[in-house]
Symmetry: C2
Subunit: 504 residues, 2 copies
């Protein structure tokens, strides 16, 4: 075992040299808003050295199916920090989405989306909200492992891993610490998914103990999403798995009303990427009217990531002060509350003029109150005693009398194995099923050692050998049962590593 | 194959005899609000014959672990319609949740949750909302099939079935037709889960064609949930799978601000159950102050279900008129907008006094505009040509060099099978993996026929025999590879029934 060291952030803060940043100007409004952003960063004294890279439309059209040139790829990986303007993916088949490529290739495990109300300058029902959603970005159902197994049934695997959970939960607490935040809320559905979501919850509790000064809470995802939608001001940092995070982060952005002004980060083991959430808006490209706030917010996150918190605060507070002063680009301009409609470059000038100022009513950025550097330790696998105690064999069987199937399987005569139960869509149908249960053609048949004494929930499983499973599969095949898949049953340190059937 | 006929609703409307209803008075405030509701139904001329059944706390404590007596069980199944007040589940181990038992045992496949704004009598940001969420209730991740397979990885199966999709989608369209609704929105994540959520989407499109007068739309669940939270008034009927429906129905109820006033239905093949969403509130039991609106709304749904639409309209409109008139129970009483604070029984009297009235501002119920009876046809399995073309074998392997694993597997020498690729958490790591990909101890190794020519996406898979899979597993076991699970790969009518690896 030789896992790579996981560090969200490995910069040398001891010397005063400029941090090299890979900067992608992007497509559409990209170049305009990037110029505006870089001018502000420069005026604020950010100690960075931009190195421009070619990604996006031109790269796609010159034959790079992932939208990034070889040279850009090299620069991005060397510099480890990417600031990215929106890009355009050309129409047509064969083009891969650049963000998916970057996320997969660079192991960007955390998606970070801070959303803050800009009330009364942007309409929202929630003037007090200031939420950061930290979403696991590599696993869960989004691993995309799907199989159609019978006429009736298709399956997708939800994979939750301990290293995945540890990394994202650790990042959330470290983020809270670094950014001076008070509370982390974990969202799961472990009342139903006791093993997968249960693992996420457990890791949250374990790692949370190391952060006594941060308030912790765990909520069930359905109620949690409803509460976020109704009272987002009750939340601070949210950490959750991939699918839930996808939903919750969209809810938060939508109800804030300021999705076009938000930035986001994708954080990896070594590399991190910062970008605006908004698209490249080719219809207004070159008109010098786009709102650069999303990219400015992304740049603020980048500065915090590389440890330049004071500059980050300076930029963010000047941005807020400019919005408060009523200098608005067309997207948020409104006669009553705006003072002047400004262009992209004028907006940047107004922000630069306010560097050093603080907002009067909007919430001041105080990143420098946080602890700075985010540290993610290397994953260490803890070895436990793993024992094979049975197997779930799934059959495609097109009759509907579970007792008939059960009786037939009882006579299969596999070496040292016996049928314990059959379920259909998770509901026990043998032995002692209910006549009302509708059955598909997808039957899960649980086999255990003939030495296992079966007495409801307290069953103590005896170990078996995988050769017995092979023998069982062979016999089932000989007797014309159609095996479609298997899942081994394991105990880990004597703890059952599998769920019981509903009704088992 | 002999699947049962699926009918949400099989009542004899030709004769004028009363429909027998199993009525559970429940615990806590249950008896009070049930009495109020039944008095109203009686006064409105509902043609029903209540038969009281024992479920809940007393049944639990007298030794029925599911909270329902044998006799109650019999009556409920005979009558096929259950009106249920809230119950109390006693503290302590071994008690099963009654609703889960009923849902599983009776095959209640659809959960129906209408939520309507009662603005300005109940606070909400969304005065115009009137949404019904129809949620699949039997499958998806909630089948609860979970396995821990390695030190690092736990898995939950998401199962989506064609009969499950057909039934819930059909129910949603039939509901829209029966209740005079205009639009059905399907929510899925089929840009990621192309096979499972793709099936739900496909069935929605297929069945939707039979309802030309109903507007149809399909939305991606993350954006959809965000839009529901921000603009619920844009939605009418929503149909979705179990987990998504769990989240969306909670969001809708929460932002309406009237969750305590809502009813819900659980609809099965033969049996249907109607109840208030609220709990039994033992703290205010016997005080005659509880708001019976949730149960009255459930009763209105029940009347519509058994075809008594005019009575349903009459009750619902009198309920709305009473709320408009300012007669409010303590839970929604407020000095400014209420006229009088009323008890549970007084509230029922006020509703009865208004039978025949219509609301002036709140939206009038016009169920009788709908088509009435909901019909769900029997599921008919369409047989296609199913061919085994490979197998995904999952290994527990604790090193991290995918090339080493790939090389070893290439020499395994299973009869007529060869390694096509290896993925880790869905990302291809062999051949031609990327060095940055973090690997867990959970490796998916795809084997196909040695006769299959591998040329990227256009691979044409050759059929194999399951005996070859058994041979492969045996050889892997002999060479000390730890097989943890398998997933067969099938073509259906020549169409690939499995997803490719990311990067495959």
């Amino acid at each position: 075992m030789n896992n790579p060291v996981v560090e969200a952030n490995g910069f040398d803060f001891s010397v005063d040299k400029a941090v090299k940043i890979a900067v992608a100007k992007g497509d559409g409004i990209g170049p305009e808003i990037m110029d505006a952003t870089l001018r502000i960063l420069n005026a604020a004294g950010a100690n960075i050295e931009p190195q421009f890279i070619d990604i996006g439309e031109a790269a796609y059209l010159s034959g790079n199916t992932s939208g990034i040139t070889e040279q850009a790829w090299l620069t991005a990986r060397q510099n480890k920090v990417i600031l990215k303007a929106p890009i355009t993916t050309p129409q047509g088949k064969g083009y891969k989405r650049l963000n998916v490529t970057l996320r997969k290739a660079l192991g960007l495990f955390a998606n970070v989306r801070p959303v803050m109300s800009l009330h009364p300058f942007v309409d929202t029902n929630f003037p007090e909200m200031d939420v950061v959603v930290i979403r696991e970005n590599e696993e869960d159902l989004y691993a995309g492992i799907e199989h159609r197994q019978t006429e009736d049934v298709v399956q997708c695997l939800k994979l939750i891993t301990r290293p995945g959970c540890e990394r994202i939960v650790r990042y959330a607490f470290e983020y809270a610490k670094a950014y001076g935040r008070k509370k982390v809320t974990c969202m799961v559905k472990d009342n139903i998914m006791k093993l997968t979501d249960g693992l996420f919850h457990k890791v949250f509790d374990e790692i949370g103990e190391e952060y006594p000064n941060i308030e912790k809470e765990v909520q069930i995802i359905d109620i949690a999403t409803a509460r976020v939608a109704a009272r987002p001001q009750d939340y601070d940092v949210v950490v959750t798995s991939n699918l839930y995070g996808d939903i919750v982060s969209d809810v938060v952005a939508e109800i804030a009303g300021s999705v076009g002004l938000a930035g986001s980060a994708n954080i990896g083991k070594e590399v991190a990427m910062f970008e605006a959430i908004r698209g490249s808006a080719p219809d207004i490209a070159g008109l010098n009217i786009a709102n650069p706030s999303g990219l400015i917010n992304a740049a603020v996150m980048m500065l915090a990531h590389i440890g330049q918190h004071e500059v980050a605060d300076k930029v963010k507070n000047a941005l807020l002060a400019t919005i408060e002063a009523g200098y608005h680009t067309t997207d948020i301009y409104s006669k009553g509350r705006s003072v002047r409609k400004v262009s992209t470059s004028d907006f940047a000038d107004e922000v630069i003029a306010r560097l050093g100022n603080k907002p009067e009513n909007l919430k001041e950025s105080r990143l420098s109150d946080g602890s700075g550097l985010i540290q993610i330790p290397e994953y260490r696998r803890v070895e436990t005693k793993k024992e094979l105690v049975g197997v779930d064999v799934f059959l495609d069987w097109r009759d509907d009398d579970a007792n008939q199937l059960g009786t037939a399987l009882n006579t299969i005569g596999a070496y040292g194995l016996k049928l314990k139960m059959i379920t259909n869509r998770g509901v026990k149908v043998y032995p002692e099923g209910l006549p009302e249960t509708f059955c598909t053609d997808h039957w899960r048949c649980r086999f255990v050692s003939t030495e296992t004494e079966i007495k409801s929930a307290n069953t103590s499983y005896k170990t078996i050998d995988f050769a017995q499973v092979v023998d069982l599969l062979s016999k089932l095949n000989q007797k014309d049962f159609e095996v479609i898949k298997t899942e081994n049953l394991y105990d880990f340190d004597g703890q059952r590593g599998f769920s019981l059937g509903q009704g088992e």
